[in-house]
């Protein structure tokens, strides 16, 4: 991603500059890895949710915190170019989710559980940033 940017330092909007970084087989891999990330999210979410009695959406929290940790790790390992797009954006980007986090927060709010809704926002943000920092530190040390 960074290398593609440096090819056109004066342009941020590059509608047809994709193949700079991602090759045609790379796009197929983006689709396949997106599927893998989504299925992993479903399975982790469902196994965490099943083992917790709380109504708090811990499954999504576990997915997002672990995904932020792993993406931090890849960043710390200084992965770049197509490898970062495939392992980071395609796989971990699909594994973690923003929309479900917001939907579950909205649901808690609708159910009148305002404290739980606020906690869902604050805990996810804090754990997400903390996990990304930790992952990057581990990756940098390796």
């Amino acid at each position: 991603m960074r290398s593609a940017k440096s090819l056109h330092p004066d342009r941020t909007w590059r509608p047809f500059g994709w193949d700079d970084v991602v090759s045609t087989p790379g796009w197929i891999a983006v689709a396949v890895l997106g599927s893998v990330g989504s299925i992993a999210r479903f399975l982790v979410d469902r196994s965490v949710s099943r083992h917790t009695a709380a109504r708090f959406p811990l499954g999504t929290l576990a997915v997002n915190a672990s995904g932020a940790l792993l993406l931090g790790l890849l960043t710390g390992l200084a992965l770049s170019g197509e490898a970062l797009v495939l392992a980071g954006s395609a796989t971990l980007g699909s594994y973690t989710t923003f929309s479900t986090w917001m939907l579950e927060t909205h649901k808690l709010g609708e159910d009148g559980q305002l404290a739980a809704g606020a906690a869902n926002v604050l805990v996810s943000m804090t754990l997400g940033i903390g996990a990304a920092l930790l992952g990057r530190a581990i990756g940098g040390a390796l």
């Binding site: 997106g34 893998v36 993406l71 954006s89 989710t97 923003f98 929309s99 920092l133």
Partner: protein, 144 residues
């Protein structure tokens, strides 16, 4: 599916359905392609507002609010639409981990104001997006 919404944790175990996994994988592939495609078309540097990530997250939250509310009113509930559209498509189209890395990169540049604004605006707009799309579906449903 309906019971999973109201009391997902009280559902002890449901066997993994192969068709459900295929639906999630299909939606996930499309969501991933759309998000990575947009992020490659719209590259931003760490000092800038990450428009690509912001756009997919808000659009995905709008879509999820719409799909989930629409699917709740269908009886019998379609068993594969939710995994395809909600878990697969919207789940993969939006991302949480990329936001965290973007925040770290902003903090690296001591751009704390941008990082705080990005995080706050993303969360507030994402919440409003889910709220607005589900409220709109209910409003339309009440009229018809």
């Amino acid at each position: 599916m309906a019971t999973q919404d109201t009391a997902r944790n009280s559902v002890p175990r449901r066997r993994i359905d192969f068709q459900e996994l295929v639906a999630i994988a299909t939606g996930g592939a499309v969501g991933s392609l759309a998000r990575v495609g947009l992020s490659q078309a719209l590259l931003t540097s760490p000092g800038e507002w990450p428009w690509a990530t912001f756009a997919v997250n808000i659009a995905g939250a709008l879509m999820l609010g719409y799909f989930v509310t629409r699917l709740q009113e269908r009886l019998p509930v379609s068993t594969l639409r939710r995994p395809l559209l909600a878990t697969g498509l919207c789940g993969a189209f939006t991302t949480f981990s990329t936001v965290q890395i973007e925040l770290l990169k902003m903090a690296d540049r001591n751009d704390y104001a941008l990082a705080a604004a990005y995080l706050a605006v993303t969360v507030v707009c994402g919440y409003i997006a889910v709220f607005a799309s589900s409220a709109l579906v209910r409003r339309v449903r009440a009229l018809t």
